[in-house]
């Protein structure tokens, strides 16, 4: 009888695969996700950057766009990484590869990509003069808090795409599923589109909801002015009612008496959302959900990939 011989353990295998992934980053086209994230962040900052963290409407639109950038980046980072080499993984699994090591290597590598993308996104936003909050909520630095949120949203989306990549058998299937997931995330974020009551429960499992909520909390959404009403009134200032212009008169009075900002702030108060309360605990809750969702996706990815030996030819 042969003695039981120990082979390379999980930790060592993780490093082997990390090496492969970083070589792929350098020698293949994986590095291209970084300039791509810069371009997307630049475009979004250009369109919505001016009003983010300035007014409630601008914050909602801007943070929704930021969440979309993160989800888009995360999805594109890993949607094809496993399914494109599935037969290779099957061969290696039969030769002793631990699926947990393989996924762990991907988790670490994807975390590296997400950190790079977070830094790039924040830098682009800073260059585009987005008015980021000045006070930190969980850490002393506000920008670090924002970076953590952006990283967690990107990473969570990345892990979701990794899960899909581990479950499907071809890149075509993965790329077919991806738009559905993306639309689901966008529609069910819960903040940007009004959802019917039953759909609100579904929103709890979306990355977009927790990402959007976290960014709105950090932007102190509830204390921001609301400008929609004022803008509508400005558009109606020349409306003539019985030879008079009551809207114009009202606007003039408010402007002249210096009460415009007070009114805008009051308008904002009428539109507060308890979920966006400026409370560190609220923010931590969002982060916890994003971490939990990421772990769930990783668990499903490992479980489904463990059955890789059953793949047909």
């Amino acid at each position: 009888m042969k003695k039981s011989i120990r082979h390379s353990g999980r930790l060592y295998q993780t490093f082997i695969y990390l090496g492969k992934l970083f070589r792929m980053f350098i020698f293949q086209n994986d590095w291209k996700v970084l300039p791509m994230s810069a371009i997307i962040a630049g475009l979004v900052s250009f369109v919505v950057g001016a009003n983010v963290f300035v007014s409630q409407e601008g914050t909602l639109t801007g943070t929704f766009a930021m969440t979309c950038i993160c989800i888009w980046n995360g999805f594109f980072n890993s949607i094809q990484v496993i399914c494109r080499e599935r037969p290779i993984v099957k061969r290696e699994h039969r030769s002793g590869l631990h699926i947990t090591s393989y996924i762990a290597a991907h988790m670490i590598y994807q975390a590296f990509l997400c950190i790079c993308q977070t830094v790039i996104t924040i830098m682009i936003c800073v260059f585009a003069e987005v008015a980021f909050p000045s006070a930190g909520m969980v850490t002393p630095i506000a920008l670090l808090d924002i970076a953590i949120t952006i990283f967690l949203v990107t990473y969570c989306a990345d892990m979701m795409a990794l899960m899909v990549s581990a479950m499907v058998h071809s890149t075509t299937t993965a790329m077919t599923i991806m738009p559905f997931l993306l639309i689901f995330q966008l529609v069910f974020s819960g903040g940007f589109f009004s959802l019917p009551a039953p759909a609100l429960k579904v929103a709890n499992v979306t990355i977009s909801k927790w990402g959007l909520t976290a960014l709105c909390i950090q932007g102190n959404y509830n204390d921001l002015p609301m400008v929609s009403l004022w803008n509508s009134m400005v558009k109606m200032k020349n409306v003539d009612v019985g030879g008079e212009k009551p809207v114009y008169d009202a606007l003039k009075y408010v402007e002249d008496s210096g009460k415009r900002d007070i009114l805008l702030a009051e308008s904002g108060k009428q539109n507060q959302n308890p979920a966006y309360n400026y409370d560190p605990e609220n923010l931590k809750r969002c982060w916890k959900f994003l971490i939990l969702l990421s772990l769930l996706y990783v668990f499903i990815a490992v479980t489904s990939l463990e059955a890789i030996d059953k793949d047909k030819r």
């Binding site: 390379s8 295998q13 792929m24 293949q28 039969r94 002793g96």
Partner: protein, 441 residues
Amino acid sequence: MPEASSNIFDYFNTVSWLLYSIGLMGIFKKCKVNPLWAWAPVAKEYKLGQCAYKEKEGRTYAKLSIAGYIFNFADNFVDHESSLYIVFLILYIAVGIGAIIYMVRITIGLCEVFKKKKSWAIMWFILQMPTALIWGYNKKFVPVKQVAVIQDGVKDSGINLDARDEGLTVNINSRTIIDLFKKKYLLKDIHLHIPKGHMVLLLGGSGAGKTTFLNAVTGYEKADAQILLDKQNIYKEYESLKYDVGFVPQQDLMRGNDTVYLTLHDAASLRLPSSVSYKDKKRRVNEVLEEFGLGAIRNSLVEKLSGGQRKRLSIAMEFISDPSLFILDEPDSGLDGVVARGLFEKLRSIADSGKIVVVITHTPDRVIDLFDDVVVLAKDSSRCGRLAYYGPIEDSYTFFNKKSMEDILLSVNQKEEGGEGLADEYVEKYAQLMTQEKEAG
């Protein structure tokens, strides 16, 4: 009034269903399928697929039908005002679309089998009941091929072999799968012993179960079997023995962006025991690189290699752990004669070093002098993979009364595949031979 119209609708539906089933009975009869299946929900969808020579589509169509029946039944219990009903409807529509697509595929298949214009598929879609009746009972509608009747095949054959101290002992009683609620035999009664140092050719036609056999031997897909490698049970000690089995797949499954050296080094890291030091591992990698003639291209990217170089690297990846059992699935596919010959000579030298080498190839005659034995697998009349012969190459020519491996293959292949359809005869002949040998001691 609405109740009366509903009753008429129900009555019409029932009559349509009856007439459609009667029409299917006629079609099934023409296609040599038991007509009674036309009255069995789910089975009739599958059988229609068989008639159209679209069995795979028929299977999916049957599964979608099951979903459809479940939805129809569940519809009685779902509140039509609830939000759940919308989800229910969406799923129902999705299943319905799938069923329509598969029905269209099957009816197009029927058009091909009955040699009718494909425009009939439209008739099947919009007027299913009258179309089924026309196809079932009009004498102008005759299928050009009928559903093959699967016979019982050869009864139990072969004898369990005793394990020997060295070599590979294979005792496969059966390898089965459940296919649409039915047990299907993929392999049956394969008993053989391959001594160390032998290079064995695995010969068999399409669907004879070559890959299933190899998967059963390596333990990748377990069968009702006992596989012993030097008296160690591969199934029971799979985790430790998997490193002692090298399986080289048909495709070159390697990452194109890695260099030859790194590919082999990573393979060594996975396959070699952790007790092997980094220095020894490096030395082993360099040794294998030289042995397989890859030293000069060690820093080349895998994607830049030629077909022959890639194949050698793929083999080297398995060879690095020095396995006792070496299995190769069509290693010469895509290689020219000279390169293929060189590759098989390398495999011969591996066998000569005391390993067991099992090779599947579709062009065996050009390198047959390098093999010791041949395993001939054949699909019997029940479409199950059976052992038609195992033994020395020279004896195989006498056994089959043929002059080449290709002729042997033709003799065991089914008639519809262009063969002689003698699989059952040879399976029985070989089983008798084995029994006689055992009785003779």
